[in-house]
Each structure stands twice: as structure tokens, then as C-alpha cells.
Symmetry: C2
Subunit: 431 residues, 2 copies
Amino acid sequence: MDDVIRLGLLGCGTVGGGVVTILEREAADIAARTGAQVRVTRVAVRDAGRERDLPLGDAVIGTDPWAVVEADDVDVVVEVMGGRDPAGGLIRRALELGKPVVTANKELIAHEGPELYAAARAAGVDLAYEAAVAGAIPIIKPLKESLAGDRVTRVVGILNGTTNYILTRMSEEGASYLDVLADAQALGYAEADPTADVGGHDAAAKCAIIASLAFDTVVHADDVYREGIEQVTATDIRTAEALGYVIKLIGIASEVDDQIGVRVHPAFLPRTHPLASVRDAFNAVYVEAAAAGELMFYGRGAGALPTGSAVVGDVIDVARNLLQTARGATETAHRAKPLRPMHELRTQYYVLLDVDDQPGVLAEVARTFGAHEVSIAQVWQEGAGDHAQLVLITHRSREGALRETTEALATAPGVRRVASVLRVESEVFET
Amino acid sequence: MDDVIRLGLLGCGTVGGGVVTILEREAADIAARTGAQVRVTRVAVRDAGRERDLPLGDAVIGTDPWAVVEADDVDVVVEVMGGRDPAGGLIRRALELGKPVVTANKELIAHEGPELYAAARAAGVDLAYEAAVAGAIPIIKPLKESLAGDRVTRVVGILNGTTNYILTRMSEEGASYLDVLADAQALGYAEADPTADVGGHDAAAKCAIIASLAFDTVVHADDVYREGIEQVTATDIRTAEALGYVIKLIGIASEVDDQIGVRVHPAFLPRTHPLASVRDAFNAVYVEAAAAGELMFYGRGAGALPTGSAVVGDVIDVARNLLQTARGATETAHRAKPLRPMHELRTQYYVLLDVDDQPGVLAEVARTFGAHEVSIAQVWQEGAGDHAQLVLITHRSREGALRETTEALATAPGVRRVASVLRVESEVFET
């Protein structure tokens, strides 16, 4: 190894462009911190002929990512192409060749992370993926390194900027989900097909990665219980506010009684909680650890430069290790734990019912809750006549019991519709 | 090196006790993550005979810290005794001997950090000090490693738990500084001699460490401009609130025009800013970087276990490096920059004047501001008669000009007293 670390870039879209820009702009500082020049020597893109306004110097631009991985003048592979295939194979090959890999590929890590960590461990080579979760926010390194001597008990994250932007605007403007979504799409904050974001898929992938690390276990994206924000109404948000809560799409990973629970859904959070003030497209990850107590990490979860900053931080790390023939901290996954079935979750619930405005309905509703051993903390009626609604907040209850309750309520006399059911995460934050 | 890393503990008070507790409680996980057992073999304390309710196993407990540093059965030195002397000499000796050092010593690092970093670099040995700033919050590692590829432009921190606790209670209860301080002392949240906290000395030390790292330069504790919270009144807090601000004791380090400004003082922060919702004894560090954008790190800034968690995280890091004969990231201090004199600061100011309740006073006050080229953004009168006050918020102005203005106001006709002057940091957060 000379005093140059040569990067092979797989992909040169938004994030790749950010990486190239930062590498050029901060070249002197990066060299000082790495102990070597860091230079992009090869780039694989879909269309090699496309005009790129990027300082790529004399890097060789081609269309074959495999050639980049194999190239003798590539010391570190930076995968910013996204998708599981061929990215997964390319990364495995790079590791086999003893080349450290930096990736921003959330989807791949969420689905194949544990297998890739094992491949890196077997090859004795670094695999870094800070940029795969929450963009610029350092969260992988704190979990892997700063908290290595501690025991994480719970992680709660606002992991998707699009949904947080939508919920923030719904909350601050009293607007409906569909109106804000349409506006967000027009402004480019939401995709034409917003399913990955609003359905919670993106957050679930990130939550799986976090849970694996936080609990030293194996959690795949498909293991994450998932609900999106499509059903959240302006009424829900108004009711939450009246009770001192805000509604956020959160990912929660926790260890209770040797089981790991991992779930993504909209929830009521107490307005005084640090996560409640995370507005617009920002992300934040709140961590509870046995010794450290409560920690929160906040920042931009997406974008060319924020994500590029995380990638370049990882590049410097793995380059420094490579120069010393050392390795960074690794995922141990040595505490493999079973997943807790969702019906065993215990939390509080908000239930909104459209009801007939007549005597006896509340009694019937209360009886139904009681019959399923779900105890009611607060209840009141909103509106009247055709618009009569009952708002209920339960005490901490089993999810299974709550589901049986709402199923029974759906056909109970005087109940026209179960309009909303949302989890209320207040006891989570009692410390 | 076998598969055991042997620690020599210098000091075994609050933080040392936390470290020992965590090492024992999480021994299995720590071994898995380190790749070796981590064991305390020697401890130096003031009173070796004192009963300690700590799982120290068969560690040798003595009173000579130099013997611990020199001992053949000590691989890593953990300095949690505090104070500059003899801690500084002990750390230098350990580094000379090729032994990595982990320290929680804020005072030492703030005053002698750059010299100690150089000693570690010369010896090719790790010196880790995550616990010296903001307790459990990972901030040293994010600055040194995660943001290594980025350019930090500004850091704003709530770095002292005692003052944040006092200001939070003053704000939420409308109580006076002295009343809350007395209560905080009774509750053990503030020292009998609270000067280090309320005078901003503690925050200034942490701010110096952060500034050195963030800007790759040399900033000593004495370089930090410092004001405490002793002069903050209930009126100031009420006025701030009416204008949409909260008052926090903040440390700000920023780079403007190739100069580094480093200051600690109470300031108005916009209520919507993430730092504004940091309550009670919590700490938080807000970072702006060229590519990453805005980041914030939040958590407990003190306490045996939170600080112990940070120490143990560092121990695992340096132990892993030691096992690989590698080194962690180092401070480069390669961009040495001059400090910006405080009078060249440009920010907004809040000025509260006790005035005579008579015509012409406002005109005289406004004329005085104008004569010094400080322009007024808002002004109004509070109270009447003997309690008449003028509240002014300036536009962004030079600190030097503001000081000349308030000096002139002190003797201006109709002005009985300059009651308060505080900086208003709102433009800081315009992005």
C-alpha cells in the first residue's frame, strides 16, 4: 500500500455524486485524517456516456461493476448503486478479494446484513454501512463502538423523512393526509409511488438494521411488524394534540424478557419527549441503554451530501484500518434471541369509534373492553348525532386482547365503525 | 498479548466505580466485542483501606498511581482520578511506555489536550477521552471519525447539566436564580460551591475540547470567552418566552473567515430549535457541517454509569486496537487558526433597561444605539412609573459596538440602569 487509497465506485447517482463532491472539496483534510490521499480510480455506471458535472479527475468510467471490484487499482469498494442484486454479489466478491466495502445500501443490509457481516468477518475485511441508516446521523458507529460496553434496552427512531414531513404538516396545518401527500409529491418530498415511505417499508428496513446491531442478534427486514401512516387522520392528530401527544411514524426495537420486539407504526408520543420535536424531514434515533441512560441522535436522514458525508466518514475509517492491516469493530450477533410475537406486545392504545348518539352505547363499549380485560384510562364523547364519536385511551394492555376488543366492537350494538386504532407510547418513556 | 486485556485504574471514585460495575455486569458482551477478556488488575486510590462495594475481584488495590502505570500486568491505563496533577504526568508516562490511555479528565484535556495528543501521536499509542465531554453522549468519536470527511462549521452545546437544570426550573416555575440554586444544592444537583458550573467554567472546558477537534486546531480552556448564568433573572426568562425564545447556557464554537470563535454564555435560543427542548440535567451538542447539515447528540452529561459507559466504550476501542497493534483516529490539529476576538463577534442582542417613565427617553435610547451603529429590531416598554423598563432586541451587530452602546446607555439621561444584556442566537440557526 502506497500513500494513496484507491476507491472503486459502484454507482454514481445522487449519493455517489455527493461522495465524489465531498472527496474533492475536502481532499486536504481527508488526506490528513486518513494518512493517505483518497482517490476515485474507477466508477461503474449504467450510462457511461452521460454528461456528469462531477470532479471525477482521470477516474475510469465504465459500465461493468464487476470489473471495478476486480480491478488491481481499486483498494476499497464503495457501493452506492442500491438494490439487492447485483449489489449483494458485488460486495461478497469484493470481500472475498480482501477489499473493504463501504455501502449506503439500506435494502441490502436490511435483508442480507447478517450474512454479509459474516462474509466480512470470514474474510477479515471491513464492511461499513453508516449511510444505510438515517443518512448523515452517526448511529451505526455509536451502537457498534460507543455503546459496546453497555447494554441497549430500547431504540425508538424516526427513520423516514417523507412520513415525518407529512405528519409534521398535518399536525401544524390541520390538513388531511391526502392533501399533504399530494403537495409533498408536487414538491418532490414524496415519490410518485409513495408506498415505500408511507407504508413504513423504508423505516422497517432501517429498524431491522438497528435492531440487529443494538441487540447483537439477527433481525431481517421481513421480521419487522409494519403499519404505515395512510390511515392517520386529521382527527387523530387533533385528538393526540388535545391529550398532550404528537403522532409520529416510529420504529421501535426493544428487548423484553429475552425476546426482541421490532415494529414500525404510527404512534402517540408525549409532546415533551425529545422525539416529539423532530420536525419536517429530519430523522432521529433515541436509544436507551442500561448504563448510558437515554441518548438521542438527530439529523438529516437523506440527501446527496448528508448521505455522502456518512459514506466518506466510513471510507476514511476503512482506509485507516487498511493502512494498518487492522479491522474495525464487527457485528457479533452472539446473543441470538427469538422475536416477540406482536400479539404479546403490551402498550397503551387510542381507539376512536363512530357511534350512535344514544344512551347505553358507552356502557356496551365499556363492557366489551372489560370482557377482554382491556382497561380504559380515559373516555369521552366528541360530536353529536350523526357525528358522535367515542375517544378511548386504554391502560397498558396486551396487543392480542386489544385486537379481540376492536374486532368485537366492530359488530357491537351502537358502534357504527372502529375509525382509528393507534398505539400510545407514553409508558415507553417513563424512566 | 494473550486473550486478556489488563486494565490499571487510576482512581476509583464515582466514575471509576461506574467503570468497574459495567465491566463486571457486561463482561460476556464486552469480551465478545473486544475479542478478549477485559479485567481490572490494579487500582490506585487515595485510601486503600476503605471498604468498597465493587466487584474488583482479585485486583491489587494500592495508593501509588505511578506503580499502576509501570506495572507489567497493566496493558491499558484508565485515568478517572481527575485534576491536572498528577494525572497529566501519569498519562504521559503511560504513553511513553506504549500503554494506551482512556481518560474522563475534562479539566486535563481542556488545558493540556493538544500536548497530550502530540505525546500519544509520537508514541504511536491511543489516547481516548470520550467521557471527558458530555458524559455518555458520543461526541468525540462522531467529530473525530464520523465527520472526518466533512467540514464542521459550527458546534453549539448545552454542556453543563447543573446550569441547564437551574434554567429549566427557572423557566418552568418562574422562580428566581437564587431560589432554584439553593434548592438544587439541597437536592445535590449543585455543589456547595457552584462556581465551576454556574460560572460557565465547566462548559468552557468542554467547549475548548470540542473546538479543538471540530476545527482541527488548538484551543485551550483559557481561550474560551465565558459568562455564567448568575445574572440571568426571572424577567429575562419571561421576556425571552414572550418573544418565542428560551434561555440556555450554551457553548458555541464556530469558524468564520478563517478565525475560530469559542464562547460560553447564556443566550436566547428559538423555542423551535432542537436544543431548546433539552430539559433538566441533560446535555446536547448540535453540530453544523458543510455536507452533513445539522446534527444533534443528546443524553446524560454526568453520573457514574453514563460516564462509565463512555469510558468502557473507549476501553473496548483501544483494546481492540492494541490486539491488532493498530491505532485509532488521531487529532491532526493541522489547520491551526487564530481565535476571533470577542468584540468582532456579530450576533443579535437583548437589552433590558430600567428607565424613567417620561417622554424623550426612548428617543434618547434609540439615538444612543444609532450613534454606535447598532440597529434596533424590536423595542417596547414594560411597566410604568418606578418600574418602567425598555426591552430592546437588536439586529445583528458587532459585539464591540454593542458594548460601547451599553456603556453609553449606563450614563444616558433617563436610563437608571442597564439591567440585562444577553445574546440572541437566532440567526445562528437560520439555514
